[in-house]
């Protein structure tokens, strides 16, 4: 190895350190702020390291007997409920569709597939008003059903796209063998393909769950009762009702991020695979 190659390698290391700082310092500051008191956080120059670290922000948020904690836990439950329902329904609808797009050659397949894909490109904001009117007409405004239905359609294109990639990689011969052994087409799908596509379903579920958990725009528009709010909308109350309680807000932001980060870390392999599926052809 020449010295020049080592030079590039060192440049890579320096770059990694810098980009790690860029990524991590904001998150570390969030954590440090969340263990300060309101008084300690609002100082100039800042206390770089909390002089009297306290967990009071967290105990307050997680204590059901405290009014703030009671609301926060309710928002968290709402988020969880909406995200889970979206994920389960989304997978149930996406699996057969993705399978059909992968295996069958019915007329209009390509057109429908790209129509599904293009749906991904429209921003939420321009759909807000028509969907609000639609939900009003369906009588769903102010219910979690409106969010689940909306998130479902938003997650579907991506789910179908991801799952199709997984099905494309399952050898067709397996089903053909099952058909020869007398299985119907649906049986072959259910008994042979489904078990093999568990990783794909997991990957799709993570995306679906994280997407629903993080969504803000529709949740802010469709819900109107305080006790129905999901977390991203609910934590706004830290701005509205109190003179911004920054340590409390940072603690709430941290707690809100924990489930998705844990989910991501545990299922990282599937997450990464899902992200790159379809874009990279070897």
């Amino acid at each position: 190895m020449s010295g020049r190659v080592d030079g590039w390698r060192w440049a890579g290391r320096v770059f990694l350190v810098l980009i790690l700082l860029f990524t991590a310092v904001p998150m570390v500051w969030m954590l440090l702020t969340s263990i300060k008191s309101q008084f300690a956080a609002m100082q100039y120059p800042p206390q770089w390291w909390p002089k009297e670290p306290t967990l009071q922000n967290y105990t307050k948020l997680l204590d059901p007997t405290n009014p703030v904690g009671n609301d926060f836990l309710r928002y968290m439950w709402n988020s969880f409920y909406v995200s889970l329902a979206t994920t389960v329904l989304g997978v149930a609808v996406a699996v057969p569709a993705a399978y059909a797009f992968s295996r069958f050659r019915f007329p209009g397949r390509t057109f429908l597939f790209f129509a599904v894909l293009l749906r991904n490109m429209f921003p939420a904001v321009v759909f807000l008003m028509p969907l609000f009117i639609l939900m009003r007409w369906l009588g769903l405004v102010g219910t979690h059903g409106s969010l689940i239905l909306t998130y479902l359609t938003f997650g579907l294109p991506l789910s179908i796209w991801l799952l199709k990639g997984f099905y494309d990689n399952i050898p067709i011969q397996l089903e053909q063998a099952a058909r020869i052994d007398g299985a119907t087409r649906f049986q072959a799908f259910l008994l042979i393909v489904m078990p093999l596509s568990v990783p794909g379903i997991l990957a799709t579920s993570i995306f679906s769950f994280i997407g629903a958990w993080n969504e803000y725009v529709y949740a802010a528009t469709f819900l109107n009762r305080q006790d129905q709010l999901t977390l991203p909308v609910g934590i706004q109350r830290f701005f509205a009702e109190f003179a911004t309680d920054w340590p409390g807000l940072m603690a709430a932001t941290f707690l809100m991020s924990v489930p998705v980060v844990v989910l991501f870390l545990v299922l990282q392999r599937y997450f990464v695979r899902a992200l790159t599926e379809g874009a990279v052809k070897s």
Binding site: F22, V126, I235, G278
Partner: protein, 315 residues
Amino acid sequence: MAVTSDPASGSLRRDDGLLRRIVAHRADYAYVLPALVVMMVVIAYPIWFTIDMSFYKTPASLQLRDRTFVGWKNYETILTAPAFWSVTLNTVIWTLASTFFAFLLGLGAALSLHREFAGRAVLRAILLIPYVISAVAASYLWKWLYHSDFGVIGALSVQWGFTDKPINFLDNIHTALPSLIVVNIWREFSFAMIMLMAGLQTVPEQLLRAAQVDGANAWQRFWHVTAPHLKGVSMVTVLLLMVANFNSFIVPYLMTGGGPAGASDIWITHIYQIAFGRQNWGLASAYSVILFIVMMCLGYFYVQALTRGDKGRPE
């Protein structure tokens, strides 16, 4: 064509007529039907509604009975408003700068992480966290970092002697948009990183070694061997980043609301303001239609980039 799973349909040829083929494949549609029904209701209807609405003047109450037909007037209003061009310029800067830097940082990170070393997986996971957490969390976090009195960035810039007193990043017409772009890059670069890391796996190791034997230096190896292999995945990544940035709403909305004085207003926040602030639904719809058209152009390139690789793929 090995994929015709249904032996019955294998006998059907292209010239059998559309109707006959549809009938022969009727069972196939059962699989896609639930997805299509849901999507039609929640997608086709809003698009039709928006296009229709863009030709009307509507009362604030959203009582559709009281709307009046105005033809192309909404479009005229938009394109002749002085705000349109400043908002468009902001949108272009926002989209291109975010995409460019996110891609560049992602590429650097992917190249640096390509070689195996201890802690590589941990590092990759940490770098991905900003991409996973919600834009709402990121917005509040960075709002606190940029805080005019107690923000850590302002304090650091004083500490290190860059400025005399903390800058009010989000409330200054010169710094608002760049500050938001930084947040966007923070959130998105690891997406580019992951895509490009996957792309790097397709570069044949022998080719790189052969180039090295032939005396190519690191830069030449990157430019002549690695880069051509990354072309496809780079195009998809750049397009997805552009679409995401063009459509991003939460960061500008929660952090500056498009302010100060429209300095960080982009199309999406502007449309939201027209619709929900001024309650001018017709105008907002016309704006959305213009946005649809831009999206369709990007979408066309996206489909092109995706299918380019698909043709060579054995079916």
